[in-house]
Symmetry: C2
DNA sequence: GTCTATATTTGGATAGAC
DNA sequence: GTCTATCCAAATATAGAC
């Protein structure tokens, strides 16, 4: 029988190289645009020729998919760092919005890959997509915890939040022109939903 | 002296062919994605070979630029059709939001070209860009007419509106899941800004 | 104005030697 | 695992005949 070592040094090295390739890929899309990822250039950056990349990823889409998985993982991790949330619902809402907008604003290429899907023909693998879905479901739970249960209000909230992120990225990249509006936007939304809920409550009791 | 005809039939035909090419280009980007415009395919569609396109447009970017100009013109025209606006500010606000969201939702490729700029290396020509800027300035005037003069409120309004358009296009293309929220969103924004203005008014008089 | 022919570049991907 | 060599396809663009 062969002695099986506890660590597979070859596998470790393989994973390390994959990570290195992905790092270089992120750098390239940040510099040249998400759609401008080129296997030739990518290989050169990490000191290889293009065909060697195929020892690590079976296709260009597989690289995008791995990047997508990394991005969603970063989202999940950053989201976890949000807790514990402030007790005050409004403060928690502000924190949630701020988290999302700043996460988006921090990396335009990542935002495009995760939330905009402008790569022709790219669909994240089912496994990657599921993680992203679960993570967004957590946002819904967050709102539910504040008594915001109306699905339309959830849609309104996502529209408001992505709108701020989108305008920040499109019209003031690197700045804070829309980030500064987050607290005000959260107050606007919160007041609206609570008023709405009261109205509905009232409508029910008077009937 | 040569007799100069009043109409230049050759020029007319040239413009007609240009228009035909642009129509085919729109069809192609709607079907395949904005970035997937191919001169070969485009030429085939209009019954030419690729090099013949260069008699009408000096480059691929020139085609994108002409499309950009058409898109902004469509925006301006549609905007003009909005008038006269309802007297009631809230109703006018709703009409303005609805106009913008529906204009965006009507054509994802156009939205991407005009407002998202995902074509690597493409910048609209100065002339085209100026038209777009003027048109958006009109939106600002619209709000100013309602007493919404705070530039931050204008930014909040654009964020809310583009957010609705973006979510509609990203998550329910062809549907109306976010379009249905427009009136509610306008009310939310309107109440927020009027309350805010009152507060500021109050703060000034009590000082 | 349109064509053929071609230049040139670039892209992703594969075969097979080492 | 990495390389060279190559394939294949597609892209934009130009030259020059007709």
């Amino acid at each position: 029988m062969l002695d099986k070592p506890k660590r597979d040094r070859r596998a470790e090295r393989h994973e390390a190289t994959k990570a290195e390739i992905l790092d270089a890929a992120w750098a390239q899309v940040r510099a040249e645009g998400l759609a401008a990822l080129s296997l030739r250039d990518l290989a050169r950056t990490v000191g290889m020729r293009a065909p060697s990349l195929y020892s690590y990823f079976e296709s260009k889409h597989a690289i995008y998919d791995a990047m997508y998985a990394q991005g969603t993982q970063q989202f999940v991790d950053a989201q976890r760092a949000l807790y514990p949330l402030p007790d005050e619902p409004l403060d928690a809402l502000k924190a949630g919005m701020r988290f999302f907008v700043e996460f988006c604003a921090a990396d335009a290429a990542r935002y495009q890959l995760l939330f905009q899907r402008t790569i022709p023909g790219f669909e994240p693998s089912a496994a990657s997509y599921r993680i992203a879905e679960e993570s967004l479901a957590e946002v819904a739970e967050l709102l539910t915890g504040f008594g915001i249960t109306d699905p339309e209000m959830l849609d309104l909230f996502t529209a408001l939040t992505t709108g701020i992120a989108d305008q920040q990225l499109s019209n003031d990249p690197g700045g804070d022109r829309w980030i500064r509006l987050i607290d005000d936007a959260a107050e606007m939304f919160y007041e609206h939903t609570t008023r709405r809920a009261e109205r509905h409550q009232l409508g029910r009791t008077t009937r």
